[in-house]
Structure formats: C-alpha cells, structure tokens
C-alpha cells in the first residue's frame, strides 16, 4: 500500500510520541479486516498497541492512502453510556450506522465518561481527535505527570 503524508501531519504525529510506521500498520490492518468507520470521504481506524489506543485518520487519494492524522489515548475504553443521534459515519465491519454517544473511559482507577462515536450493536466506541488530543490528554497528564 502506498502512503501519502505531509510534513505537517508527520510532525503532529511525532509530536504525540507516535510512529508514522505504526499508523501505517493500523491502516493496513483496518483495510484487510474492514475494522474501521467511514463517512464516505475518510476513514478512522483504531488499534490497541501496548497500553495505548492508537487511531489512524486517513482517506483514499489517487489509488494511494493519504494519512490525515494520528493520535492516541492511554485511557481504557469501557462500556457505552448512551447513544443520542445518528452520524454520517458507518462501521464498515458490520454495516451499522455509527451514532453520537458517550463512553466510559477508565484511567488509573478513575472512570468517567466522554463524548464518542459509538456502535451500540457491536459495543465499539471511537474517540475523535479533538477529545483525545485535548481533554483526555490533559486528564492523562494530570494523573501521570503530577507525581513529580
């Protein structure tokens, strides 16, 4: 599979301590297994890698794969708390319409909810980038770095 990635996106991914090669591996796996959601113009796939859930945001471009972004969170995804409305996303693996919802996330013994994309049928949840890279990242930082 051929990949396209801008310097800016590469820099963002690396600034999050992620490897571009890992993002490519996630995309390879998602394309093979269909374990991804799509809104028609782009796809979002996730994979548990060690203690971290890593996401690949990508789209097809001239027969190649354009990597739009990569991000991650350390929080463990638990159960879906609620689902509230349809979205433009579809879970390719089972054809279900992905809904807007809230999912419980746990980290170092604390469990609280966060907005998410959910598929109540399979129980799967995905966190969008704005949340993983901001609110959740700050919460993780509060726990893991304040010990110093």
């Amino acid at each position: 599979m051929d990949f396209l990635i801008s310097d800016e996106v590469k820099k963002t991914i690396e600034s999050r301590a992620l490897k571009v090669d890992d993002i490519k591996k996630i995309i390879d796996g998602a394309e093979a297994s269909k374990d991804k959601i799509t809104n028609g113009s782009k796809c979002l796939a996730k994979k548990q890698m060690g203690d971290v859930v890593v996401y690949a945001d990508y789209s097809a471009e001239d027969g190649k794969i354009r990597i739009n972004s990569g991000y991650a969170h350390k929080m463990k995804i638990l159960d879906i708390v609620m689902d509230t409305a349809d979205t433009e996303w579809t879970y390719v693996k089972n054809g279900a319409k992905v809904r807007k919802g809230h999912t419980n996330l746990s980290y170092l013994g604390a469990t609280r909810s966060a907005p998410s994309l959910v598929d109540p049928k399979s129980g799967e949840s995905w966190l969008e980038e704005y949340l993983a890279a901001k609110t959740i990242a700050v919460a993780e930082m509060l726990f893991s770095q304040k010990r110093a």
Partner: protein
Amino acid sequence: MAEKLGETSALCPVCLKTIKAVKVAEDDKVFIVKECKDHGKWKVQIWSGVEHYKYLYDFAAVLKPPLKYAVKECKDCPQDCGLCNQHKQHTCLNVVELTNACNMNCPICFATANGCGYKYHPTMDEIRKMFRTVVDHVKSPRVVQLSGGEPTIRDDLPEIIKMAKEMGIEHIEVNTNALRISSDIEYLKALKDAGMDSFYFQFDGIDDAIYMQTRGRPMFDVKKKAIENCGVVGLGVTLVVTVSPNINLDHVGKIIEFAAMNVPTVKGVHFQPITYFGRYPEEPEDKDRVTLPDLAAAIEKQTMGMLKADNFLPTSCSNVHCDMKSLSVVLPDGSLFPLTTMALGPPTRTDDIADKTRTEVSKFWRFIEDTMDGPSEEEDKSWKTFVNRAKTHYLTVSAMAFQDVWTGEVERWERCCIHMVTPDGKLIPFCLFNCTSVDGETIYRRKSFCPHSVTL
C-alpha cells in the same frame, strides 16, 4: 534489635561542631544517633516505618549540581557552606529575608524575629545584591520567596518585587503572617501590580485556641479576611501550617477541609512539622515531634481516607526524606480527588524531576491558564468537567520536614534545594542556616546577618 542504616555527619546541639552520626532502625522507627566527646550523646527519631524509609530512596532524582559555588573547597561540611563544591543539588527555591522585624511576637519563631539583639533590614542595594546572587547562581525558572521577620512591614515591598522581576526572577512568593494584607487592600493591590505571584501564609488552624498557643493572639478572622482580599485581587495563597503534636496535629483534616472550601484562591496546604530552631521554649523530646509518615497517617485518618498516606510522594528534588506532596482535584461537593499515588511507583525519568519540580512550583502556585477548548459537554461525570475543574479547583497538600540541630544530617543538607540567600553572596540550605544550639547560638544566621545589621 537495631539495624544500622547508614553513616553521616551531624551537629552537636551544644557546640555546633561537626560530629559523626549513624542512622539506625529500631521498633519500626528510624533514629539518628550521635555523640559529641564534650557534650554527650543524642538519639532522636526522624522517621516512622523502616521499609517505607528505605523504599523512598528509589524515588531519588538524578542530581543536578549548582551552576556555581561560592566556596571552592569544603573542608568540614556543614561548617563552610556557601554552597561548596560538595553540594549535590542546585537551588529550586531561594529565600531572601527582607527584615528581621515583625508586627507580631510569636512564642515560636524560626527567624527569632524581634528580640535577637540586632536589627537586620537590608537596603535596596543590599537586596539587589542578593537578587544578583540568585540570577548568577540559579538557572531559570528562578523562584524567590521573600521572607522575614515579616516582609509586609516594608512599605517598599512593591518596589522590591518589581526590581526582582526586572532582574530576571520569574516567580515571587511572599511569606507572611497575613496581618497587613487583611486590612490594607491598597497595599495588596500594589504587590500584585508589582508582579508578585503568590502568598505563603502562616496558618496554624481554624480555631483561635490554636493561635493563642502558637502566635499569642487570635488570628483566624485575620486569616479569613486576608484570603478574601487575595481572592478579590487575584493572588493565590498557600496555607503554611506549623504542625505540633501538642497543639494542632489533631486539626490537620479540618485545615485541609477549610483549604478545599477556599479554592481557587487557596492553592495548597503546606505542613511543616515543628522544627526546633530560632525561638523555642525548651529542648524537645521525640514526643514533641511529628515525622512525615506520622503526619500522613493523621491526614488519612482525619480526612476519613479521602486523602491517603499513599497519595503522598516525595518531590524527589530535595532529599527524598525531606518532603512529600499530593495533588488533588477539588470536586463540587468539596471532596478531594487525588491525582497522585505511590502505586504509580518511582518516576521513570528521574533526571527530569528537578526541572519539573521547579516548573511546577512556578506553574501550580498560581492560577492555571485556560488551555482547553473543544465542543462543550456539561455532564457531571465526564472527563471534560473533571479537567475543566482541575484547571482551577485543585489543591496541593504537601509537607516539608525541616531539620534542626537534633535531627539534621549532612546527607540531607548536601542534597537540599531550598536555600537562604545571604547578604555576602552565598546560598545556604535553609535548615542549616537556621540551626540553633541549646544556648540560642546559630551556625549561620547571626554571622551572615550581623555584619549587615544594627546592634540594638
């Protein structure tokens, strides 16, 4: 059966000469044992919980030595401090005393303010020289605590703060009894406008019976009013509690509760187990002391387990047995949600700790900037609500066990990162500077300040 934990050097409480000392474990306590051939033998408890004492060494930071040494060659640590070439850790907090006069006359005073026989009240030029010592010897971010005596008796304090900022000192905190700022809000505004960052408040309890013992007068209303004024002006406050087993150890839970109810103006509670230097009534026994583990246990019991002993970690910048710190988010009902826990284990990047600690002192002792955005979501149990609250409604509960002439040891002094700045251009560990013999003689305080003082 006593177990020897290590050898060190210490001071004779009578003659202040350097003497050999050993640390021993006995009955699940750690003692420092020392003997002066002229004045006798001492055995003083310094810790409770032997395994905990040993485990904390895993939290020790990779040390970063000072940028410069005022004393090139040390012959007899801790007698020729300045810092010297044997000192192992750089400076995190610089303490600059602006006067030894005070508008109170407390029965217990580490600085022996008032009544020490000389008046120390440095001129602007002398203060500038001390700030220059900080700028020359300490890497950015530079944190200075203006202390005394009582620094707010100086009408020129705003100009002093302004000068410090102009010289490149990033964070200024003022150590105060809060008397003046409880009644003089114009002065408070002038301090804020000059660039000061936060206050370090003496705060012994929420009961005037305590203040009668520690300060000789009721003070709780004064403290409340001063906190209110700081809230109006927008200055953060750390409540600094001298903890004595005979006076207020059984009030630490209530103090934390009071602090939690007063966030975001109150940023933290800093407990200081009573240290016997400066002015104190009589030679202390072990029953007159509180070790850090004893304090942590009292906090756990009195907060009904809301803040557990396990939530406290050494900052790892000073010696690991000098301090402990916790950080909690204060939830809407006033309860604490601790973010720190021993279960996380020793930090993985200890070389980074010193910088982090200094940045944290600078960063978390004042109001946190709003750094987050994103779509709103108001659910109480959400991570976003939690994080939003953590931006302002957090509470640091920390403690520092200062060393006095009985408990002090070179192993801790040489790793100290809290330093007094002297008028003759030296930096000296705070505890060492204030060590006082049974006869009231000091190892450094008097000889550092007297040449710059007026004899009374």
